[in-house]
Symmetry: C2
Subunit: 477 residues, 2 copies
């Protein structure tokens, strides 16, 4: 046991014995150093380990706090997907979720859209407005195929926080993260190939697999530590897997963050089997703790990780500004980018570059993160209060998406049918599976400004789910 593990073990024991109780502030780093006679970095590493275990959290300018006590049963259960490659279905459900936008009075509680109401976003409007109004019409011309050099430079700077040393030329700007994921999958595969994915998995990626004629091999995934490396290893031995696709940080939808050691181990596993990793880090900047968790890419020493990200979850998806760091696949990615959409739109790139360069991005992140962290706890409180007994809830350390596992009697596709009368819609869990699993699960968004109307909607979801549980019991009698 290393020194920091010993410190962490002592602190963990005190939490488990109720010496520090949920909501309590923990001793400061300095206090721990004095008490246990260790260095600052050791104390920090111990706290980091406790955060990774979701026992504590850090709050900006306030310190470290014990997280609300959660019985283990409150976490969603580990996934048990089929043990063979599957064709993807569920497009109809995805279409319903993504196609209903305007002219839709329903409250879409499950959408993956950030809060766009914060004043800290306004400088971006101003910058975009200014760029467009400037007499110069060069903004209507193409930018470089790989993207605006200014933006690539800012992205390279931002990536340092996730442990990556990227050169601006390592980066391609894309039309949203979706194009980055699409490019990555297309350049690595041929129709019929098998791709290993975490499970549940983002429906957008699953639909790329469907469109490209690929098969998904869903790997069991732990709601705290992510994709099972043990199951993945077995799968790599058994199947001709062409790529591993994961969202290891603030996973959508499960909410976990893979501990750094597991991220490193995943790279080593991929190296052993000579497989590429597609890392979706679209939520990575929305970390409730600082520094943000490292990417898998930060452990990549032979260019096999294709890191995909963008600004859709921080600045807004309507901008369509994404990026990728495709490692050793840069040339193929550039070709795929060209044939997919040509160069990316010019002025949005320059505007985002200016927004980041002037410090607005960092300021906006601070605002959004603080709100999301609070709203997570409010939303969890509502789910605990209004949802049927036996409901499991994730506890994400970043981003704005909650995964809720209801009792097995609840079918969330049918739940949505009942919710339609109330103009409410959730993202049913089956969206996140190749074959319609996770029907008793749903995804909630807590980026909304949480008004009483939202609380009423969440309560309605819980009550109608409760009715389904009741009906199921009655039918058993």
């Amino acid at each position: 046991m290393t020194r920091y593990e010993k410190v962490a073990a002592v602190l963990r024991e005190r939490i488990e014995h109720g010496i520090y109780r949920p909501g309590d502030r923990l001793p400061s780093i300095r206090a721990v150093c004095q008490e246990m006679e260790v260095s600052i970095s050791t104390a920090q590493e111990a706290y980091r380990q406790l955060m990774d275990a979701t026992l504590i959290e850090s709050r900006p300018k306030s310190g470290y706090f014990v997280l609300p006590g959660r019985a283990p049963s409150v976490l969603p259960s580990i996934s048990r997907p089929a043990q063979r490659p599957l064709d993807i279905s569920q497009w109809d459900q995805v279409l319903e979720l993504v196609a209903t936008q305007r002219d839709d009075n329903r409250l879409l509680l499950g959408r993956g859209v950030p809060n766009l109401e914060y004043a800290s976003l306004k400088p971006l409007s101003k910058i975009l407005g200014g760029l467009h109004r400037s007499a110069d019409l060069h903004g209507f011309n193409y930018d470089k195929l790989s993207g605006s050099p200014e933006l690539r430079q800012q992205v390279a700077k931002l990536a340092v926080a996730s442990g990556c040393l990227l050169h601006p030329d390592d980066i391609l700007i894309t039309t949203g993260c979706q194009e980055a994921l699409s490019i990555a999958l297309r350049l690595l595969t041929q129709p019929g190939d098998v791709v290993a994915v975490d499970s549940p998995s983002f429906y957008g990626t699953m639909q790329i697999l469907k469109a490209s004629g690929l098969k998904a091999l869903e790997i069991p995934t732990d709601p705290q530590t992510g994709i099972s490396l043990e199951a993945l290893e077995l799968a790599l031995e058994q199947w001709p897997i062409r790529a591993i696709q994961v969202t290891p940080t603030f996973n959508n939808p499960l909410g976990y963050t893979m501990p750094p050691a597991r991220k490193r181990a995943l790279v080593q596993l991929a190296q052993r089997f000579d497989v590429a990793i597609i890392e979706d880090d679209i939520y990575g900047d929305l970390s409730f703790t600082q520094p943000r968790p490292p990417t898998i890419k930060s452990f990549d020493d032979d260019g096999r990780v294709l890191l995909c990200s963008g600004f859709s979850k921080t600045l807004g998806p309507g901008l369509r500004v994404g990026w990728m760091a495709p490692g050793r696949y840069r040339d193929q990615a550039l070709h795929m980018k060209y044939v997919s959409t040509g160069a990316s739109a010019t002025l949005p790139q320059r505007a985002v570059a200016e927004f980041v360069a002037k410090g607005h991005y960092e300021r906006h992140l601070r605002v959004a993160i603080r709100q999301y962290q609070r709203q997570r706890d409010v939303m969890i409180g509502w789910v605990q209060r209004y949802f049927p007994e036996g409901t499991g809830i994730s506890y994400p350390q970043g981003s704005f998406l909650l995964w809720v596992e209801l009792p097995a009697a609840v079918d969330c596709v049918r739940l949505n049918e009942r919710l339609a009368r109330h103009n409410v819609h959730v993202a049913p869990g089956s969206l996140f599976s190749a074959s319609g699993k996770f029907r008793q699960c749903l995804r909630l968004n807590y980026a909304f400004t949480l008004t009483p109307a939202i609380e009423t909607a969440v309560r309605t979801v819980g009550e109608l789910a409760g009715e389904m549980v009741g009906e199921s019991r009655a039918s058993l009698v």
Copy 2:
């Protein structure tokens, strides 16, 4: 012979006998009606036929004029591509053309970019600026997956001029025409499939074929009437062709416009063999005559034509606003659009919709078309003056691209190497072939405001090409 064909034949005879000479104004429609005792629509149809034959042209508010006399040898020769499906190469050359944008002091005479300096574009900047500055941050949210309803409505209205009756729901907004073409090809094919293309053919489409593992079957193409229907029919009998990809109006690069009767015949041929047609109409609105030529889509009565277009060649490629009317393939196209980039960027769509709705688009087209028509003749004059004897030149009735066929001794890839010293670059013809044919051809852009510097550059191209012809002769001695 119908009545209008008789009228056209009389007029054609007069032109051929020098009664009306190049540059002469022809009798007005009204005068023809009186002289030949026919209806206005018959006279108009006769003039339309002569325009299709590129014997005359109409100039806004001035009337009809005889085109400059051209010996048949001045037109580029009909293409003789390989008679078998080919894998695509040439990405290196395409990359050189599309990747060199900023930080490049060279004059790129071959780029496919419109003139972005006209004041008639400025309202678009104002509208975009206004939309972005407005306090409302909804512009950062997704729009509908199929695109902004406002823009789809405007596109449907514009399509009427090309003979299409489209409902806004028939239209998908895309990230530039390139995404539309990419979606169309991907949804119709599997890797290894054969696609029939006109030849020469737009390099962007060829690279989509390459990225998707498709084979191009290049069909001989006439520089006046387009893809050979006879050769295409033979090819359809011989090969398992999955789709026909053409740019039938103001073809890039050859410049021809398929006569309406041939467009209709192409649809019938596709129906006979049950093959889809991908129609690239990106240059269609830049017609020097009004009304603009009909699209192939306008003859499509069973939804097999996937019409692809956008605003890159009229308003600017940096906006990345394109669209497609995928006919019976709408559902698959929507899925492919989702996986490719998600919804398209929100505010550029709304801005273009407003620009069109307020009449700015029509005004801007008038300005651009008038300039391009004049500049075409200036550029042709320069090529005739400065290029070696035996050079063939296209005579497009719209758009801003000229196809130049030099004597066989000239290799335009090598010509570009020599031009590099003069900071000049042309688009070598080999870009437009699957297998590097058309090396003695090049594409010139006449959208530039034609300054003495441009004339000097064109002269340099001609002189260096002349040197290559001279060297070839010398080596034969």
